[in-house]
């Protein structure tokens, strides 16, 4: 301290700034984030009854909804013009199964892709493949940090017809899978799975996973779609998140409107929001999830150092003055 005071004020200040930068690098090296997120949280409540896949299950009527804002996807071509402004998300878990109900307004159901230029309504959830404090790029992940996507499609739920639904043909000589090349190649696009379990690590890399374990069903009502997606807590394979009570996972949403010719990147997307797997029913007061993690000694140590540096900064940027506080009543 005496050494410091003997140097020039300018040098002292530069030293203080240097210390702040060193500390900032220290935080980075120990991967400590000295600030905390305050954005909104979706909660997956514990349910005592099985909601099942029925999107109109009574369980959803009783579960609080969170409105997640959506915007047009406009970072990579083909871009979207937007359309769907919000999706209402509800979530419960029952018997170690995560259920998510997604509702959005769309008065024109698009359930068929049976002719050229038609596109189906669809909805998707996107999780970072590995739980991490720094989430991957919202748009389809990035090379070193993939995303796991669950996509429900209205046309897939309707089923794919192996025969065209109009026209007259005398005879088809061959109708086995070889003559449906996509089917012969095992393309999930030609299957009848209503929900696809996919992985992506950047634009153009979307690929089906080996484990097609996402269940789901949707129904269209007067106001729009209601779709339920479900998956067991345990991760079915690599690059897919595991869930447990008390966990906080990141999740993002996307909605496609077939009427607007939405498909691929032409969709409405949300930012990542946090999904908390609560240990209790929403009727009971929320509690802070008990942390099983070891005590963050490194964080505490760095915070202590930070306090010291803050003190030093204050010392350097302050100095004795002749301020006598004459505009304030004297301390007695």
């Amino acid at each position: 301290m005496t050494a410091l005071t003997s140097t020039s004020p300018r040098t002292r200040r530069l030293i203080a700034i240097g210390l702040v930068l060193m500390l900032a690098i220290g935080f980075r090296i120990f991967d400590v984030t000295p600030a905390a997120a305050q954005s909104s949280i979706l909660t997956s409540w514990s349910s005592t009854t099985d909601p099942g896949l029925d999107p109109n299950s009574a369980v959803w009527a009783d579960t609080p909804a969170t409105s997640v804002q959506l915007t047009a996807q406009n970072v990579t071509p083909p871009m979207s013009t937007g359309g769907i402004r919000a999706v209402n998300v509800r979530s419960v878990h029952y018997n170690n199964m995560l259920y998510v109900n997604l509702q959005w307004a769309d008065t024109t159901p698009d359930m068929s892709t049976a002719s050229v230029g038609t596109f189906a309504d669809a909805v998707a959830m996107q999780f970072p493949s590995v739980a991490a404090s720094s989430v991957p790029a919202i748009c389809m992940g990035q090379a070193d940090s993939a995303v796991n996507i669950w996509q429900w499609r209205a046309d897939a739920q309707e089923g794919v017809s192996l025969m065209p639904d109009r026209g007259y043909v005398d005879l088809y000589q061959f109708t086995d899978d070889l003559y449906y090349p996509a089917r012969a190649a095992g393309n999930i696009q030609s299957s009848t799975a209503a929900v696809q379990n996919l992985i992506a690590g950047g634009f153009g890399t979307l690929t089906p996973l080996n484990e097609q374990v996402i269940a789901g069903a949707g129904s269209h009502g007067a106001l729009g779609w209601s779709v339920t997606l479900a998956r067991p807590f345990t991760a079915p394979g690599e690059n897919q998140p595991a869930f447990a009570t008390g966990d906080m996972v990141d999740v993002a949403f996307a909605v496609w409107d077939g009427t607007n010719k939405d498909r691929n990147g032409q969709k409405s997307v949300s930012a990542f929001v946090r999904l908390e797997i609560a240990g209790n029913d929403f009727a009971a007061p929320p509690t802070v999830p008990a942390s099983d993690a070891p005590f963050p000694w490194d964080t505490l140590a760095l915070i202590t150092i930070a306090v010291a540096v803050v003190g030093l900064v204050l010392a350097v940027f302050g100095r004795p003055s002749d301020w006598d506080g004459d505009d304030q009543p004297d301390q007695t």
Partner: protein, 408 residues
């Protein structure tokens, strides 16, 4: 966006990818002066590749009647009008014809990549289902009934047949438009294919292909397109004993309008200098065969010998500024060219080089008021190893049938 060289346009242009490096390019010359729209090519393709449920409206090969016909309906005039809207009055050609890197001069307008809307890679549209349902609408419709009879150089009432397959473009619009890299151009022969395992039916290729040769199949929810009969190109058809073979639509051609081959290309997409390759000879030496709508910017690989009787303005729009020279060179062919034209449909094997053996003078004729000498030269075609596979003369051989060949 990368900068690539498009020799059809005589300039560099924007494209989402840098050009790949590949050895050979699938290419063909269609002499539409000779096409009679018998649709044998169309049916040979249909019965080979697109006869299954969901492919009813798919015609990877089609022959349409210009100027009114089109499969899908008005595919070309719709895109031309979109380009004109994007760049009003600017879709023009400038400069004089140059070397092989700019044989038609320079196109100063916008390609489908350069005119693309913000947020899209390619300017295009998806035709309605009804547009695909009438592949021969306006068949044989002429522009009007001639009052004074028909005579060259331009017919008063006119139409012509345009046979079309996928152009296996050097810079494909479908490939550029696909957001998930499910379309690829094979390095060994430049054939453009849709990976049926990766396609997710987004139909961006249907939207992005200016020639509308990528087609949606509802029974698999994927898009399919012409595969250039690649097993035949690879030589796996037993008929030729391992030699590369022309596609079904080419070999089926009754009117002998088609010749298909594989040309060697440089890394910038220009053709290697091979004067003895029949396609190189016709496209670059004689310049009688021209690309279809080069201004779209995809550098298509099917070349057309333009029909002689059609108004030039229409042909300029369709084939670019090389039309006058092409028609002139085709109308009064050189000895060598006349011989090469005999090689069309002489063999099913792919001809990689040719030679002309001179023959005697046949006759002296008058073409467009000027005298021209016809020689009975012999064109010889060779395979990729230089082995002779075909030999054909300018004059059809006269074969005299013996008086009694059998009991008749």
């Amino acid at each position: 966006m990368a900068q690539v060289h498009n020799w059809h346009l005589g300039r560099d242009m924007e494209y989402p990818y840098t050009g790949g490096t590949y050895d050979r390019q699938f290419a063909a010359v269609f002499n539409i002066n000779r096409c009679i729209a018998c649709q044998t090519c169309t049916m040979s393709c249909k019965s080979t590749w697109t006869h299954s449920p969901g492919q009813e409206l798919m015609w990877w090969n089609n022959v349409e009647t210009k100027p009114y016909g089109g499969y899908p309906t008005h595919w070309d005039s719709r895109l031309l009008s979109m380009l004109e809207t994007a760049n009003p009055g600017g879709q023009t050609w400038t400069k004089e014809p140059g070397p092989t890197s700019a044989p038609y001069g320079q196109f100063s307008g916008q390609t489908i990549f350069e005119a693309a809307d913000l947020g899209q890679r390619v300017l295009g549209y998806i035709p309605e289902e009804n547009d695909w349902k009438a592949p021969n609408r306006f068949e044989d419709h002429a522009t009007g009934a001639p009052r004074t009879g028909a005579s060259l150089p331009e017919h008063e009432g006119w139409f012509f047949y345009l046979a079309r397959i996928c152009n296996h473009c050097t810079y494909p619009g479908c490939l550029a438009a696909c957001p998930r890299n499910a379309i690829y151009k094979r390095p060994e022969d430049g054939i453009v294919l849709i990976d049926q395992e990766r396609c997710r039916g987004y139909q961006k290729c249907v939207e992005g292909c200016p020639y509308k040769k990528s087609m949606y199949r509802p029974t698999t929810r994927t898009s399919e397109k012409c595969i250039a009969c690649y097993p035949r190109i690879e030589g796996s058809d037993p008929l030729t004993g391992g030699d590369p073979m022309e596609t079904r639509c080419m070999t089926a051609c009754v009117g002998k309008i088609r010749m298909q081959g594989l040309v060697n290309v440089n890394t910038d997409g220009t053709w290697m200098n091979e004067p003895s390759h029949p396609l190189y000879y016709m496209v670059h030496e004689e310049k009688i065969a021209l690309p279809l709508y080069p201004q779209f910017g995809t550098q298509p690989n099917i070349y057309y010998i333009p029909p002689r009787w059609v108004p030039r303005q229409y042909l300029y729009q369709m084939f670019g500024p090389g039309v006058d020279h092409a028609i002139e060179a085709y109308t009064r062919p050189s000895r060598r060219l006349l011989a090469v034209l005999q090689l069309f449909r002489a063999t099913q094997k792919i001809i990689f080089s040719f030679d002309v053996e001179e023959g005697p003078l046949l006759s002296e004729i008058v073409v467009d008021g000027a005298p021209m000498e016809l020689y009975d030269d012999t064109a010889v075609g060779f395979d990729q190893n230089g082995n002779e596979i075909i030999r054909v003369k300018v004059e059809d051989p006269l074969i005299e049938r013996p008086g009694k060949i059998n009991s008749l």
